[in-house]
Amino acid sequence: MQNQPRLSAGDQILNWLTTGVGRLLASIFVPLVTFLVLWRGFIFLRDSNAPQFIIVVVAIVWGVGGVALLYGVSNWLVEKLSGEWVRRLQPFIFIGPAIAILFWYLFLPTIRTLILSFQDGLGRNFVGIENYIFAFTDRVMLEAFRNNLLWMVLGTGFSVGLGLLIAVLADRTPFEKVYKAIIFMPMAISFVGAGVIWKFVYAYRGEGVGIQEIGLLNAIVIGLGGKAQPWLLLPPINNLFLIVIMVWLQTGYAMVILSSAIKGIPSELLEAARVDGANEFQVFFQIMVPTIQSTLLTVTTTIVIFSLKLFDIVRVMTGGNYGTNVIANEFYLQQFTYNHSGRASAIAIVLLIAVIPVMIYNLRQFRKRRAF
């Protein structure tokens, strides 16, 4: 643009903007305008009484556009510098925001939570390991640990086991896609939504004249000649009823991943085994399972971590009462019901410690891959 012989008025302005004082002014002006526009947007969203629909649209445009704008403007600023500086600074335009957010939202909080876990309920004084003594010895916590263990072992076991079974069986039917879509569908539903569905299944209306049971499970039990039960109020068996919900939600995940791993097994391998006289069980346990071992491990770890942090189902179904408390729910109760941030933090740290082996495994795998 600078070497063009004839300049229109617009080009002249642009030209002036790209040299000397103009350039400096523009470098100040553009970020300032950007900032003002974003600030106005923020104020509008905070104070506006416009119809909700309009606010939602403005919010989406403001949020997404704002982030794009910030990238554009900061890159524009950096590219105004000399080549050497562009080379040095540009990487930080690219990774800077991500790193900043990771620091603010995950890295620093880990350290801050660790510090809080040694302080009292209001975070004022240090109390040593008192919160950890609570976390590991209190009756409530022991019950939560026991339940989480149940969730981890039974929940994960059934999810992976059923997922594997369905993956193998669906592979042999002509309607594979339909079956898989149905099993997989609950993954799209929120745990709260799933909670409503299963509350209906377990519903119990009590005894009395003219009261009719409407729950599915009670209908089955009564149909078989049994007596209606308040399923969710019966410790310790009610934990199992809650775990069924998790299995319902997670089997689809296990199935999809394992199914693609099974499809990846070379068919010659399976044929060879069958020709050699192996029956289907032997093919399954001695060929398929060992071949997809690493996928099985990944799926199992993912679901174990999931069951460790499980919160929504218990919160919605029982609120952690009747002997169904879990660690993540106790975390929530300590922080938001009892306002004891020290104990809540200690519980969060316990959760973190529980996943550290997985973290180390991930890091090892990453180093092995030599992506850098």
């Binding site: 919010a59 909080p109 880990t110 939570t113 929120s190 709260v192 993912t302």
Partner: protein, 238 residues
């Protein structure tokens, strides 16, 4: 009209089995639905944008601390988000951000970012290097290459993560409960509140649950292929 009032938060009247007239206040699910959209759409796009930039930076740019910082990303993949809730809540209280959409976007961005960066890095890092070099020789800046070349090429990976993140955010209850509270309620919180208030009104609860499921189920069935692909690549998330 009955359904409509449940959605809008007006009063609902109905007759129960024994003929008594019962009045309930609606839970404004329609408003919650809009809130969920306002939370979920930016919470999906913003982390993708930030992660795509970062993935490009990690894959194609050289800078000090590159390896260390990426190791940090991998380490943070499985960190349970409970660990961040208390400190972030304190920050938000000081910044007066509680109950705002912005607070939710940033929180979901933070919690989704490690997985997003990791997935997109795997994808963008595996794009052939020649594309990049020829564009660079033609005088394109990194920014241009990224926006004009890499982003369009990465659409399959971006779509996979987008569906994953959208369903995750839409169905999230804990983060909404902590940072939104009763302000700007999203569908999951509204539904959970209904479970508490209208535990015996099954006809209301089930319609509420259905409203909360329509959108994720549609997205899920329309884009299942991408979703599965995202799951495969993602393995472990915190």
């Amino acid at each position: 009209m009955f359904f409509n009032n449940l959605l809008s938060g007006k009063e609902i009247r109905f007759r129960d089995a024994s003929g008594n007239e019962i009045t309930r206040k609606g839970n404004n699910l329609g408003g919650a639905f809009l809130n969920s959209i306002a939370v979920a759409v930016p919470s999906t796009i913003i982390p993708i944008l930030i992660a795509a930039f970062a993935a490009y930076g990690f894959a194609w740019l050289n800078f000090p601390g590159r390896k260390l910082l990426f190791t940090l990303v991998v380490a943070l993949l499985v960190v349970p988000l409970q660990i961040a809730l208390v400190p972030i809540l304190r920050d938000y209280t000081q910044l007066n951000l509680n109950g705002t959409y912005l607070a939710m976007w940033l929180a979901h961005t933070g919690f989704g970012l490690p997985l997003a960066v990791y997935l997109l890095f795997n994808y963008i890092g595996s794009l052939p290097r020649d594309i990049l070099e020829s564009a660079f020789i033609d005088g394109a800046s990194h920014f241009t290459i990224f926006t004009r070349l890499i982003l369009p090429l990465s659409i399959p990976a971006l779509a996979s993560f987008a569906i994953f993140q959208f369903l995750w955010v839409w169905n999230d209850y804990l983060v909404a409960l902590v940072f939104l509270g009763d302000q700007n309620r999203v569908v999951t919180s509204a539904l959970a509140a209904m479970v508490g208030e209208k535990g015996q009104d099954w006809h209301l609860l089930t319609s509420g649950a259905f409203v909360s499921m329509i959108l994720p189920l549609t997205v899920f069935f329309a884009l299942q292929r991408y979703f599965v692909r995202g799951l495969m690549a993602g393995s472990v998330k915190g």
